[in-house]
């Protein structure tokens, strides 16, 4: 593999790769606003400028610049190397790139930072990005100057509603065009663009349109500053109070990798952020999925019920015992929904469910244990049977169940999920269990014990080993994820 040198450190790269991407793959962060590993590079923020040493024998490319000479009290002409955007310059074998070690680069970063903050409003106290904002991080890392401009900053529209999900603040925008490029390149709906010039330019939505579709949240996600905010998260929480768990989105069988941000003080989830995984979702998530974090709280079952009446867990198990006493095993049916289990291996196919419905109709099956309350198509047919439902969420099946046992949702338990492509992924526990809910597997084991079935498994570890067929959990970490956190 060819390599180049960044501040003296050898960095391998694939042919055609840019300097910044090759460095990023090695975990070396060259400061940047506009570059994003999943988007094209416009090289317009100028933060990633680096100094590239001339090839041996070649004349260095320099610029004439005026420099203030404090001693002489006048400007003097001097020269400095022409810096180049590392997001747009392809790496070449043996190239010598200077980033942190170049005085010119450090000065350029400082000046770019000052330029980007010239007209920035004093918004940190009311800005949702505060605490995860690149302007803040880079000012302390690379800026560290105090304001020199004494003029009134340019004012631009604030709180512009871009669509059903996104609000735009023109004053905070650094015109990196990540959102514009995301809509054009990934969402394939070029509805955003930039208008005006110089310090007047702003992002706008194409006339007659609004920012809608399935991927609007990602425009906020790629925004390196607080210019784009989602209506959903706006003013809801301050990010430094949030903790993050690595979760797997439960919205569909793709199983996008996500960061679930929650506030441990209130035991409440506040948002999803996509977690990079080349094999599953790359850098992105859809709007529907981004909002599924709400299911950690909405429509939850948190109390055991017997015939619709609230009951203690012990009462519910007693009732189950008496209901199932003397029932032959062949009269007991089982329904596992995908939401609570490992999709491919166990979840029912439509055909199997149909067979069960027929069996109930004909009286061959009189008692049913269901995991998950969402089996709508079978609800009516199961009305005749005695049903025990273990579920985290309300659903049609819950209404016809004789006994209802509350289970924890994905946010309250760590678990392994197998997506539609068969990729096994681990989701970590974020919240404490709500109400009286307990992990579903524990309910099932206790039920089995209470109803007199022989159980060979007693711990989560054993269950996991069976599901994974030998693969260890450690082996399931997302594939070569990205280095520096966005």
């Amino acid at each position: 593999m060819p390599t180049f040198k960044l501040d003296g450190k050898p960095i391998p790269f694939d042919a055609g790769e840019t300097i910044i991407k090759a460095a990023w793959k090695q975990g070396v962060d060259i400061p940047h606003y506009c570059w994003h590993p999943g988007l094209s590079a416009p090289a317009n923020c100028r933060m990633c400028l680096v100094e590239i040493a001339p090839k041996p024998g070649a004349r260095p490319v320099t610029l004439d610049v005026l420099e203030w000479d404090a001693k002489a009290g006048t400007y003097r002409t001097t020269q400095k190397p022409k810096l180049q955007p590392s997001c747009y310059t392809a790496a070449a074998e043996g190239m010598e790139v200077l980033s942190d070690s170049s005085e010119h680069v450090r000065k350029a970063r400082r000046d770019v930072q000052e330029f980007l903050l010239l007209n920035h409003p004093v918004d940190c106290p009311i800005c949702d990005q505060s605490g995860e904002c690149k302007l803040q991080d880079y000012w302390l890392e690379h800026g560290r100057y105090q304001k020199r401009m004494r003029d009134e900053p340019v004012h631009k529209p604030k709180g512009v509603v871009f669509g059903p999900t996104i609000v735009y603040d023109g004053e905070r925008c650094v015109m990196c065009t990540r959102c514009v490029r995301f809509m054009a390149e990934v969402a394939k709906d070029p509805v955003l663009d930039m208008r005006e010039r110089g310090n007047l330019n702003e992002i706008f939505v194409a006339p007659g349109r609004q920012l809608d579709g399935h991927y609007t949240f990602m425009t906020e996600h790629v925004c390196p500053v607080g210019a784009l905010t989602t209506k959903d998260f706006r003013f809801k929480a301050r990010v430094w109070f949030l903790r993050t768990a690595s979760a797997v989105c439960q919205g569909c069988a793709t199983g996008c990798n996500a960061h679930l941000d929650y506030d441990p003080r209130y035991n409440r989830a506040y948002r999803y952020r996509p977690r990079d995984n080349e094999k599953v979702n790359q850098f992105w998530m859809c709007d529907e999925g981004m909002l599924t974090y709400k299911q950690a709280h909405d429509g939850r079952l948190v109390q055991a019920k017997v015939r619709g009446e609230a009951a203690s867990m012990a009462q519910a198990f007693e009732e189950a015992k008496s209901l199932f006493a003397g029932v032959p095993k062949e009269s007991v049916g089982l329904v596992f929904s995908a939401a609570h289990s490992v999709v491919k291996q166990i979840a029912p196919s439509a055909k199997a469910l149909q067979a069960l419905v027929e069996d109930v109709g004909s009286g061959r099956v009189t008692h049913v244990i269901a995991l998950g309350a969402a089996a709508a198509s079978a609800t009516d047919a199961l009305r005749g049977a005695t049903v025990i439902t273990v579920a985290a969420h309300q659903g049609p099946l819950a209404d016809v169940s004789t006994i209802l046992l509350p289970a924890t949702s994905w946010a309250e338990q760590s678990g392994t999920y197998v997506n539609s492509k068969g990729i096994k992924q681990v989701s970590d526990k974020a919240l404490e269990p709500l109400g009286a809910s307990r992990p579903a597997w524990r309910h099932l084991l206790d039920l089995a014990g209470a109803l007199g079935y022989e159980v060979s498994t007693t711990s989560l570890k054993q269950i996991r080993a069976q599901v994974l067929g030998g693969a260890t959990v450690e082996a399931l970490a997302p594939s070569p994820v990205t280095a520096p956190a966005e």
């Binding site: 004093v122 918004d123 940190c124 106290p125 605490g131 803040q136 000012w139 302390l140 800026g143």
Partner: protein
């Protein structure tokens, strides 16, 4: 009842007496701090003294390791709460050593003055309280009146009489107030006057002298072996003072002497503190001459020092600086450091470990009076019960810094 270890010779006592087991403290009106001494008495003679510390343990090292580096200042105020400014300055110097920061000249003089004022407060309290515990209430009022004057100055400077939280990484919270020098110059002679009056009542008092002289004697070698520092060590004749031995701030640029004792008894400790009060005033007077009237009081490094407040409200740069320093804390470079200064009771050391984040990884404090209290039982054994009060009082054990 625990076993009594008294092995008494027949006929040793005037009257045959059962050895007695007695608890002194942790809450006792004549005790100088919250400490428990379990005594085995033979008559009034102490056969064995088991000194038990820890009654003021608050887990402050652990508390310090929770917030940001700057949030440690209020905690260290509560170490030796009689001289919080010295703890503040010691901690600030430790973090600055780790960061490689050098504070401006003016700040160094300012810290020197504030620190010596705190030392005045410390020694005045210790000597005054010890006299009071021996029944001499009037001198206590004299010395505490002088301490009030010290606190008036500190209140004028910091806004708080006791727990100032005035130190900052890379400087102090505020520059000296406009009339700082005038206030000091007007107050110091008054303090000296009060000290002279107070000591006159004690040092020619036969009862007082008799209760201190030759009581609680320790040799220089023993004291050094125990790890004693400060006035208690110097009372034995060992002239070790961090300010002279390893000068910091501006101590190498001012003239002052190290008062030492000869016998290492309680009276020597009392006299050493009186001498140090005079030396501190001498240092302050020199520093007042040398401190500039204007100039920066804090470093100009946005990574560690907060911006001016008006800038925070009006410019985004200062807002960001403020935000990063408050919410995430100053990122102190990875590494570890031991930094030590002369506190009120001796060598006050901070051993800090940084993992490069805004929160200290480890804050270990070496409080001077922990080692000193460790020597207490040795001083007491064989003495009379009534000797406990002056001996313990002169060690100046401060629960806040001892228990950790």
């Amino acid at each position: 009842m625990e076993p009594v270890y008294a092995e008494l010779e027949e006929g040793e006592l005037e009257l045959p007496a059962e050895p007695m087991h007695l608890n002194m403290g942790p809450s006792h009106p004549a005790m100088h701090g919250t400490v428990r001494i379990v005594l085995d008495l033979s008559g009034e003679t102490i056969v064995r003294a088991d000194v038990q510390v820890g009654y003021l343990h608050r887990g402050f090292e652990k508390m310090c390791e929770r917030g940001t580096w700057a949030q440690v200042f209020p905690y260290v105020d509560r170490l030796n709460y009689v001289s919080p400014m010295l703890n503040n300055i010691g901690y600030a110097l430790a973090v600055e050593k780790l960061c490689g920061l050098a504070v401006p000249e003016r700040c160094q003089w300012y810290r020197t003055i504030l620190g010596e004022l705190a030392r005045l407060s410390d020694h005045l309290t210790c000597n005054g309280a010890m006299a009071m515990e021996l029944g001499a209430f009037t001198p206590f009022l004299w010395l505490v009146k002088a301490r009030e004057m010290v606190w008036d100055i500190l209140e004028e400077e910091t806004g708080a009489r006791l727990t100032h939280s005035f130190g900052r990484i890379g400087g102090m919270a505020n520059p000296p107030s406009a009339d700082f020098k005038g206030l000091c110059r007007a107050t110091l002679p008054k303090i000296l006057g009060l000290v002279e009056e107070g000591e006159k009542m004690l040092l020619k008092n036969r009862i007082f002298i008799d209760r201190l002289e030759n009581v609680g004697r320790i040799s220089g070698a023993d004291a050094t072996a125990l790890g004693w520092t400060g006035p208690c060590l110097r009372s034995t004749g060992v002239a070790y003072d961090v300010r002279k031995a390893h000068p910091y701030l501006k101590y190498d640029e001012v003239d002052f002497d190290i008062p030492v004792g000869t016998k290492g008894d309680t009276l020597d400790r009392f006299l050493v503190r009186l001498g140090e009060i005079r030396q501190s005033i001498r240092i302050i007077n020199q520093a007042l001459e040398r401190m500039a009237d204007d100039g920066p009081i804090s470093c100009d490094d946005p990574r560690f020092v907060l911006p001016e407040k008006d800038g925070v409200y009006t410019t985004i740069e200062a807002t960001i600086q403020h935000f990063k320093l408050i919410m995430e804390g100053a990122k102190v470079p990875k590494g570890e450091v031991y930094s030590y200064t002369e506190g009120g009771n001796g060598e006050l050391g901070y051993y800090l470990v940084s993992d490069g984040t805004g929160t200290p990884y480890r804050v270990r404090i070496r409080p001077p009076c922990f080692q000193i209290t460790g020597g207490l039982s040795k001083l007491l054994e064989g003495r009379m019960l009534s000797d406990i009060v002056p001996t313990f009082g002169a060690l100046n054990m401060i629960g806040g810094e001892c228990d950790h």
